[in-house]
């Protein structure tokens, strides 16, 4: 309200429109700092694990205890070998994630479904719902998209749209069930989504055993591959699902921040009683939120099924459905954050592969690092405690400035 007087016209939205962005940025700084610290800390713990599981380091430690007389020699060895092992592993990680065109491609391919499923968790979060059901929503989405993809023979473009639509609608239906149950009976969405994950898994298994879903001449629970016309076309080595994930993120942002429904979702998520008093329909919000979440999960699985892996199995979702929860948590339930977190997890996953092949580090390490990131993000007090040590030094120099102002 301070620097507004020189505005010549009565309704000039510009100064007001500018302000929130600046404020937003400032209020996000601590969050960004905490998140980066969490990532660094997790990588540090990962480095320690890499070091103590390196053969040469283990040997040097053994020598240290066997020949305590040569303490300094072996201590030096430990440091040198640790450094080597960590350097090798982490440079392989970076290499595998972004080191070359193909590794970058792999990173993006893995990020796309993570982002999209992460959005499914994010949007539910904002409406106060904890969507554990991305896995189930993705599974039924895969079933529907796959069926359309390998059963019919449609012209290019049409076939892809038909398959994606089928997957998206099936996911929306599966998510919508949760919304209806919550709105009509008050059933808690955490319970129903977990249960529906199981139902979805067995539904997929049931259908995979049917002739219509069986790959001819195979005894495995494996469907035929989807028709070429139903797969995402590639551009510069990247399939179209990847930009689609970004479009979805923009869509979710618009929905949450710019639309009536999004206003209702955020209001219901923050205070359902006040929302009801203001005349909003909580049931409508729950049902539409979960349907949209399911839709996004359905879209996510098409990025795997129609982009990479082309046939339906009960393993088609992998751990993406659960990683989506972590991605949304790390992204603080914002679309932009979810995109960034999805990219990070995609990079870690692709880089983990590189680490395994070129540095011999077990792939589990990357899962440990991912878990640690989330653990540290979820325990901000720990991170702040570490940050405070540094800030204390700073305040000593910052004080005179504050006093002058």
């Amino acid at each position: 309200m301070t620097a507004m007087s020189p505005a010549p016209e009565a309704i000039v939205p510009e100064p007001d429109a500018d302000k929130p962005e600046v404020r937003d940025l400032r209020s996000w700084l601590p969050t960004v700092r905490d998140t980066l610290l969490a990532i660094l800390l997790a990588l540090a713990v990962g480095a320690f694990l890499i070091a103590i599981s390196d053969d040469e380091v283990i040997e040097a430690i053994g020598n240290l205890f066997t020949y305590p007389g040569s303490f300094f020699i072996y201590a030096g060895d430990i440091l040198r070998y640790s450094g080597q092992a960590i350097w090798e592993a982490y440079s392989a990680l970076v290499d595998g994630a972004v080191g070359s065109g193909s590794s970058l491609q792999r990173t993006l391919e893995r990020s796309a479904p993570l982002i999209c499923a992460g959005l499914a968790v994010t949007i539910a979060f904002r409406a106060g719902l904890f969507n554990i059901g991305a896995t189930g929503q993705m599974l039924v989405g895969a079933l529907a998209a796959g069926y359309v993809g390998f059963t019919y023979d449609l012209p290019p473009g049409v076939h892809l749209v038909a398959a994606v639509t089928a997957g998206v609608l099936a996911g929306a239906l599966w998510g919508g069930i949760v919304g209806v149950l919550k709105a009509q009976t008050g059933a808690h969405e955490v319970i129903t989504t977990i249960m529906l994950n199981q139902v979805a898994r067995f539904t997929v298994l049931y259908f995979l055993a049917k002739d219509a879903f069986q790959r001819p001449g195979s005894d495995n629970l494996l469907s035929p591959a989807v028709a070429d016309n139903a797969t995402y076309p590639t551009l510069f080595g990247l399939h179209l699902g990847i930009p689609l994930a970004l479009v979805a993120a923009v869509g979710v942002w618009w929905l949450l921040e710019r639309s009536r429904l999004g206003f209702e979702m955020r209001a219901v998520g923050a205070n359902p009683d006040a929302s009801r008093t203001a005349g909003m329909s909580i049931s409508k919000v729950y049902i539409s939120t979960m349907a949209i979440a399911g839709l996004l999960s359905g879209l996510a699985v098409t990025m795997i099924l129609l982009g990479l892996q082309q046939s339906v199995t009960d393993q088609v979702v992998g751990s993406v459905g659960f990683d989506a929860i972590t991605v949304a948590l790390l992204g603080r339930a914002t679309p932009l954050g979810t995109v960034l977190a999805g990219l990070l997890f995609g990079a870690l996953s692709a880089g983990g592969l590189g680490m395994q092949t070129s540095a011999g580090v077990p792939p589990e390490l990357i899962q440990v690092v991912q878990a640690l990131i989330v653990l540290f993000v979820a325990a901000p007090a720990l991170i702040r405690g570490l940050a405070r040590i540094r800030r204390r030094k700073k305040t000593a120099t910052a004080e005179p400035k504050g006093a002058a102002a």
């Binding site: 009536r260 429904l261 209001a267 006040a274 008093t277 203001a278 005349g279």
Partner: protein, 506 residues
């Protein structure tokens, strides 16, 4: 015990909540601390009770400087506090609540309940509190629960007792009883710091009155100071304690309730066959002690709960099947009794809260999209019109003071044409300055021809606004009276006494 506060300062970042406060509480003195919401009373008391660490200054007990690391230290030093929201376990007995935290046990860890029971009985007798040690806390009235809190403090040898807004939840009779207890405590040497923003009470009970404004002590005065002077000290400018209003020109009944009955989920009939009519250009005040069915009645009028029987009519049309959305659209303005629970979304900005029930109108949305520029312009206009003190329209409502939060709710409800305004506790927890403002707006709305229904537990508010008063007790409207009824008589009606000699209209 003599309590002295010297230069006590508390800063939160660049914000100074308490600025060099000096205060002396002599033994056996009732010292009133008067101030608006957000003036810094709670911060000061939280420092005294060890919940906050002072930035500067010291606390002296009998001339000895003390520092508290937590409420435990404060209690051990003899400072007890009765919070505004009671800290009691409802399913425990009084004695169990009192011993909680310092349980005495026999060998083997078996609780010694009889010792606690004995202690409660002794304290209750000594200070004439009339509390049964074996009653379950959830079964006893609010006023008695408060006495349990007092016993808890006394049981830990408190010599200075802090009472934080103790009268907010009490009936007029209970307030009188509490004052009796305070005098008894004082007579036996306990000092009391009595926090309130009600001028009448301060004058009735205080030995000394210290007024705090914006974190600073404005002054300490004797109780002979006039209410107007005290209000001026509190607010920093002269305020009118009486709402200027002309005689109501009541028109036709706009809004009628007929035989409303509500049964709560536990099967209790909480609203029993309530009928009333609200007329255009008139304020109907529904008064009663909290928990006598007003909450449920109001919610059923708006459609937040379905009445189990009865009809609600607006302009002759039955709206009892309406949900809140339809009721609001039909021209009902609603100020809920608990603003943080039902009135606003704390995590939303002022701007968003100002359209919380208007966002869906054509003015603020086009198809699925919100008109952000219109919403921003609306916020600017309302903030100016209602003098909402906020750093910016983007500030979260939860960061505003209670009075400004309420102004956000009021501004929103007044920003569309109304046929009926239903306001429940419109000024609860609101500072004097804002009360004045909100009352003026309500009267202005009445004069515009809106039918106004005010539900309040505060007699001052009822007297200030109402043109007709309906008294609610035990789910029924027991009497409808005119505002010239004496305070005592109204108090008796609220307490359920038979309406003898009073004119019973309607």
């Amino acid at each position: 015990m003599r309590l002295e506060i010297k230069g006590l300062t508390k800063k939160f970042g660049s914000f100074t909540a308490n600025d060099s406060i000096d205060l002396v509480v002599e033994p056996g003195e009732i010292h009133c601390l008067l101030g608006e919401n957000g003036a810094g009373k709670s911060t000061l008391m939280n420092m005294l009770y060890g919940l906050l660490t002072p930035t500067e200054g010291e606390i002296l007990l009998d001339g000895r400087a003390v520092t508290f690391d937590g409420p435990g230290d404060a209690l051990a030093a003899g400072i007890g506090m009765v919070h505004q929201h009671f800290m009691l376990v409802p399913v425990f007995t009084v004695a169990e609540n009192v011993m909680l935290g310092h349980e005495q046990t026999y060998a083997g860890g078996v609780l010694n309940r009889s010792a606690a029971r004995k202690q409660v009985r002794e304290l209750s007798d000594r200070y004439r509190l009339a509390v049964d040690p074996d009653a379950l806390v959830e079964d006893i009235p609010v006023g008695v629960q408060q006495r349990v809190e007092i016993i808890k403090a006394l049981a830990s040898q408190a010599q200075v007792l802090i009472l934080d807004e103790p009268t907010a939840v009490l009936t007029p009779q209970e307030i009188d009883e509490l004052m009796g207890i305070m005098r008894e405590l004082k007579a036996q040497g306990t000092s009391i710091i009595f926090i309130t923003h009600k001028l009448r009470e301060v004058k009735a009970i205080g030995d000394k009155i210290t007024v705090i404004r914006r974190g600073k002590v404005v002054g300490t005065t004797p109780p002979s100071t006039s209410e107007a002077e005290l209000a001026e000290m509190m607010v920093g400018r002269s305020v009118s304690l009486v709402v200027d209003k002309d005689e109501a020109t009541a028109g036709a009944p706009v809004f009628t309730a007929e035989g409303i009955t509500v049964i709560d989920p536990r099967g209790h009939m909480v609203v029993k066959d309530v009928s009333f009519e609200a007329r255009a250009g008139e304020v109907l005040g529904i008064c009663g002690v909290q928990g006598n069915g007003q909450t449920e009645l109001i919610k059923s009028l708006l459609g937040l709960i379905r009445p189990d029987a009865g009809r609600v009519e607006l302009d002759g049309k039955d709206i009892s099947r309406h949900g809140p959305k339809e009721s609001l659209a039909a021209g009902i303005g609603y100020i809920p009794e608990d603003r943080s629970h039902d009135g606003y979304v704390g995590a939303f900005s002022v701007r968003e809260n100002l359209v919380l029930d208007l966002y869906r109108t054509d003015e603020f949305s086009a198809g699925p999209a919100l008109k952000l520029d219109k919403i921003a312009a609306n916020a600017k206009a309302r903030i100016a019109e209602f003098d909402i003190r906020t750093e910016s329209p983007d500030a979260l409502v939860s960061s505003l003071s209670g009075g400004n939060q309420q102004k956000v709710v009021v501004a929103r409800e007044f920003s569309r044409p109304l046929k009926v305004l239903i306001a429940s506790q419109p000024t609860r927890g609101v500072d004097v300055g804002s009360i004045e403002f909100i009352h003026k707006r309500i009267i202005a709305e009445r004069d515009r021809g809106t039918a106004v229904v005010i539900v309040s537990t505060e007699l001052d508010e009822i007297y200030a606004l109402a043109d007709r008063i309906a008294v609610m007790y035990d789910g029924r409207i027991v009497a409808t009276v005119t505002p010239d009824i004496p305070r005592e008589q109204l108090g008796l009606l609220m307490a359920g006494a038979a309406p003898e000699g009073t004119e019973v209209a309607s």
